[in-house]
Symmetry: C2
Subunit: 335 residues, 2 copies
């Protein structure tokens, strides 16, 4: 590993994995952490799901959301992906001296609205202020407590032949933030918007559908491709994905094409990847499509033991290529 920490280590891709393995897992070893899920499931009578995320997005406001909405939805979603129902959030602000109070108010309004909508309570918090030039407006950390509703949702539960689904179009958040940041491309049509949303309602719908759900994860930093690689890597089973079946909005496809990005590696903040038994994939798909956040849901591939821990993308042209975790920092500071 490098002697200094570079932006690549925050990409959510390969270097982030390496940093976590070499620096974190080597020191802190316990069953909850070792699972490396989106959160920890703690032992006890009523099983607690515990998760945290810091949000450092630049700019603070972007089409479809802002850092406040992101901070609520991100942690609610991490808990939902573990099979938990988020109930309580902590809220910690690291404010850069000079932040306009009106911006802070707008962000806090957004946090309140997102928390109400996701049915979580902000119960504790902290506020720090750092000198000008030591932050970027505001960084927000949320930690969340939820209670486990569905146990055993891990990539280890996947079986050969299972179906892989995505709840909607890929790459919206990453593309929207890049456009908002760069000012490179005029998107005055407003067609590219972050998909930032709390997914607990969609997960409720999936649970209610009766589908046999093996695992869930929201593909944030590193995008859908990186999350699929995590599924494949930690299960030992491979995944085959059909490129033509992956929903991408025309506006995001156009923006990514201009920016030189791949929507499969762009962050999502309101999408989930779901693996179900082949037999119940249709039930899961129908349940998602009936929900406002899952209208564009699609089956995009299947678990394949033959692919042996790799993710193979079957291209529209009939070829196949191996997908890897995001290498380097395609999109720093997008969540």
């Amino acid at each position: 590993m490098d002697e200094i920490i570079t932006l690549d280590y925050g990409s959510g891709g390969k270097k982030t994995s390496r940093l976590i393995e070499s620096e974190i897992l080597s020191r802190f070893s316990n069953p909850a952490l070792g699972e490396l899920g989106d959160g920890a499931i703690l032992p006890g009578a009523e099983k607690i799901v515990f998760s945290t995320d810091s949000f450092v997005v630049s700019p603070l406001f972007f089409p479809g959301g802002d850092i406040g909405k992101l901070a609520v939805c991100g942690t609610v979603n991490d808990i939902a992906m573990c099979g938990g129902e988020a109930k309580y959030l902590s809220l910690s602000l690291i404010i850069e001296e000079g932040l306009e109070r009106s911006a802070l108010s707008r962000i806090l309004d957004s946090i309140r609205a997102a928390a109400e909508s996701a049915r979580v309570q902000v119960v504790t918090g902290d506020t720090k202020v750092v000198e000008r030039g030591r932050g970027d407006g505001v960084y927000i950390n949320t930690a969340g407590i939820g209670f486990l509703r569905r146990a055993g949702l891990t990539p280890g539960a996947m079986r050969d032949g299972d179906a892989v689904l995505i709840s909607g179009t890929a790459g919206d958040h990453g593309a929207a933030v890049m456009l908002a940041r760069g000012g490179l491309i005029d998107d005055s049509s407003g067609a590219v918007k972050s998909d930032c949303a709390a997914l607990n309602g969609l997960v409720d719908a999936l649970f209610a559908s009766g589908a046999e759900i093996r695992c869930l994860r929201d593909p944030t930093r590193g995008g859908a491709a990186t999350t699929l690689c995590e599924f494949a890597g930690s299960s030992g089973l491979g995944i085959e994905i059909e490129e033509r079946d992956i929903p991408v909005s025309p506006a995001v496809a156009a923006a990514c094409s201009l920016l030189g990005l791949d929507p499969l590696y762009c962050a999502n903040e309101g999408k989930l990847l779901c693996v179900t038994s082949q037999e119940t994939a249709h039930a899961a798909l129908e349940a998602m499509r009936a929900h406002p956040l899952g209208r564009d849901a699609a089956v995009i591939g299947r678990v394949s033991a033959a692919a042996k821990g790799r993710v193979i993308l079957r291209t529209a042209a009939g070829g196949g290529r191996v997908l890897h975790k995001l290498a380097g920092a395609q999109l720093p500071r997008i969540c």
Copy 2:
């Protein structure tokens, strides 16, 4: 309030209170948050204590500790002050690009040692990297989950005539960080050290002593004076403090005198303030003095209904003056 957020709002004093009242409490209202304790106590069969803190101390390493030790002890202590036993921590790093890996390793070693010593497990986490000039080495957020052992520890439980105790010398952490930062004064003797420590063992000893404990709080940002003002303000009862009874180490007294600081307003990271019934104050004092972190514990004053929500300092010269919460930013970035 000002139109922009200045460093004063992060001091832990008056402006921090005002910011929290006007921006946070106005938006997020629920019983757990409304208590404004060091953490939230959540309803349920087994009562959960939930707390969070972000740590932005500069410099990252200082005599007696570092940001990693601080991040563990700070959250463990907040939970202990609520009457909870901390069990699980989340760990979220916001790393500035360019941080030396050796510094990160040293901080993580320190986190591990502090967690082991405090008997808490790091079970979930997050890592972000921000561009050079958008952070300060590393900011760390921890959130903690504990289980309630002693309910009802709030300033509202205080009664006229109760005793006020401190577990040791005041102002060590704040003075040590200011000396480490400024390089203004040669403290090659190493006499001024942060008191950074996990207080859960000391709280265990207090509980075991049989003393009637009304409330506990660790006087961090804003120092002992600000915490006493919080006790007085939220109970409606006043507090009278004897200046000559407040333990201050000679080295801290000398450093504060040179720096123009008041030890009563300097942060502590390994001390607690405790209010007990007058009858059981001695038991509490003996229990603390028998513990390595409470050797210099002292009774420093009493609850006085006559002081009506104010804190009165009885000076060594026989006079009295009203103490207020820290105004402005005496010590930014000390935790």
